[in-house]
């Protein structure tokens, strides 16, 4: 921190450095200690100062304020929320009901279509064994003897 920066911070936060926010306060105190020519504190203070200097980076306070205000504005405009549709105490009950409906629909689907699923299982087993599954599903080519009459017809 330079003397000009210290003056700028005095104008921004007031003359009482002890009331400044961190980390400006520590930096100003170290600057004043250096200016006095007094000891640079104990070993712990020296390490702390190094940590603060190592953490330093440029930040843009104006952009932070703008983004936070944008988010607050979006929060106010949000038109539809679950909490607006139903009271909070009903949300777990509604979620449980939805889950129950899904489970029931699955069970009903299996009960109705389950009888036909045996053929699919057989076809998958046939595929796994390296055979054609068409015969298992009953959709293969007709047997040659079944066509004899039709040849005669043609």
């Amino acid at each position: 921190m330079t003397d000009e920066e210290l003056e700028g911070l005095r104008r921004r936060f007031g003359a009482d450095i002890s009331a400044w926010p961190a980390p400006y306060r520590q930096e100003a105190e170290w600057l004043l200690i250096r200016a006095d020519g007094s000891a640079d504190g104990d070993e712990d203070a020296q390490i702390d100062r190094l940590i603060l200097r190592a953490a330093q980076m440029e930040t843009d306070g104006g952009e932070l304020a703008r983004k936070v205000q944008e988010r607050l504005g979006q929060g106010r405009r949000r038109p539809l929320r679950v909490a607006a549709i139903m009271p909070a105490w009903r949300i777990p009950a509604a979620a449980a009901s939805c889950a129950a409906v899904l489970v029931m629909a699955g069970l009903a689907g299996y009960a109705i279509g389950g009888a036909g699923l045996g053929g699919v299982d057989d076809a998958l087993l046939a595929l796994a064994a390296g055979e054609t599954p068409l015969g298992v599903l009953g959709v293969g080519w007709p047997a040659p003897e079944a066509l004899v009459g039709e040849e005669g017809f043609l």
């Binding site: 921004r12 936060f13 002890s18 009331a19 926010p21 961190a22 980390p23 400006y24 306060r25 520590q26 105190e29 504190g41 070993e43 712990d44 203070a45 390490i47 702390d48 100062r49 190094l50 940590i51 603060l52 200097r53 190592a54 953490a55 330093q56 980076m57 930040t59 306070g61 932070l64 304020a65 983004k67 936070v68 205000q69 988010r71 607050l72 929060g75």
Partner: protein
């Protein structure tokens, strides 16, 4: 050096700003961001190792302050301690989320801030000990790193750090002692190796 204390204290500007924010005065929140936005970002960026993640965390902190300002009780502690406690919780959540994303393969665990700083150090020839401290902080256990940052960047004293981290004052002192000892050892090793390199005949 004075640390931001803990427990009963004279009401400061920050306390008044939070109370005004609780009353819906957005200018008070802007002033609070002006006072603490920089410190919170330094703390979060160094703890998370990412300036972008830190930006999100600090925005979350002030949105949360705006929504829950009425919960702040000046009798229980300082406003700065309250702000850093919210930030610390958000940082821990962000780190957990990042670990999970890395675990399922969506993210690389990568200290982008350390990379940027390393490049900056090379560019401007900054002192090597700052680079060693950055590396050292990134390698410290999470709680030691947090305790050191709350001390050095947030300027909190031991009871304040204990309140932020939800730990006892004794365990915070231990974390600070261990963290500082590790960083000192790293700095000492580096100084020794540089001294040897300089003293070596060519």
């Amino acid at each position: 050096m004075t640390g931001a204390g803990h427990g009963p204290h004279a009401p400061g500007e920050d306390d008044g700003l939070i109370l005004r924010a609780a009353a819906g005065e957005q200018a008070a929140l802007v002033r609070l961001m002006d006072r603490h936005g920089h410190g919170l970002r330094l703390f979060a960026a160094r703890y998370l190792g990412s300036a972008a993640d830190a930006e999100d965390v600090v925005q979350d902190v002030f949105v949360s302050v705006w929504k829950h300002a009425a919960r702040f009780d000046p009798g229980k502690g300082r406003a700065s301690t309250w702000l850093y406690r919210i930030a610390a919780n958000r940082c821990v959540d962000a780190r957990r989320r990042r670990s999970f994303r890395a675990f399922i393969g969506l993210d690389d665990v990568h200290d982008t801030l350390a990379d940027e700083a390393r490049q900056a150090d090379a560019r401007v020839g900054a002192r090597q000990e700052l680079a060693i401290v950055r590396e050292g902080l990134a390698r410290l256990p999470e709680r030691q790193c947090m305790a050191l940052l709350l001390r050095a960047v947030a300027g909190l004293d031991v009871p304040g750090i204990a309140e932020v981290m939800g730990a006892s004052a004794g365990s915070v002192e231990q974390l600070l002692v261990r963290g500082r000892r590790t960083l000192r050892a790293r700095l000492g090793t580096s100084r020794d190796s540089h001294g040897e390199a300089r003293g070596r005949p060519t």
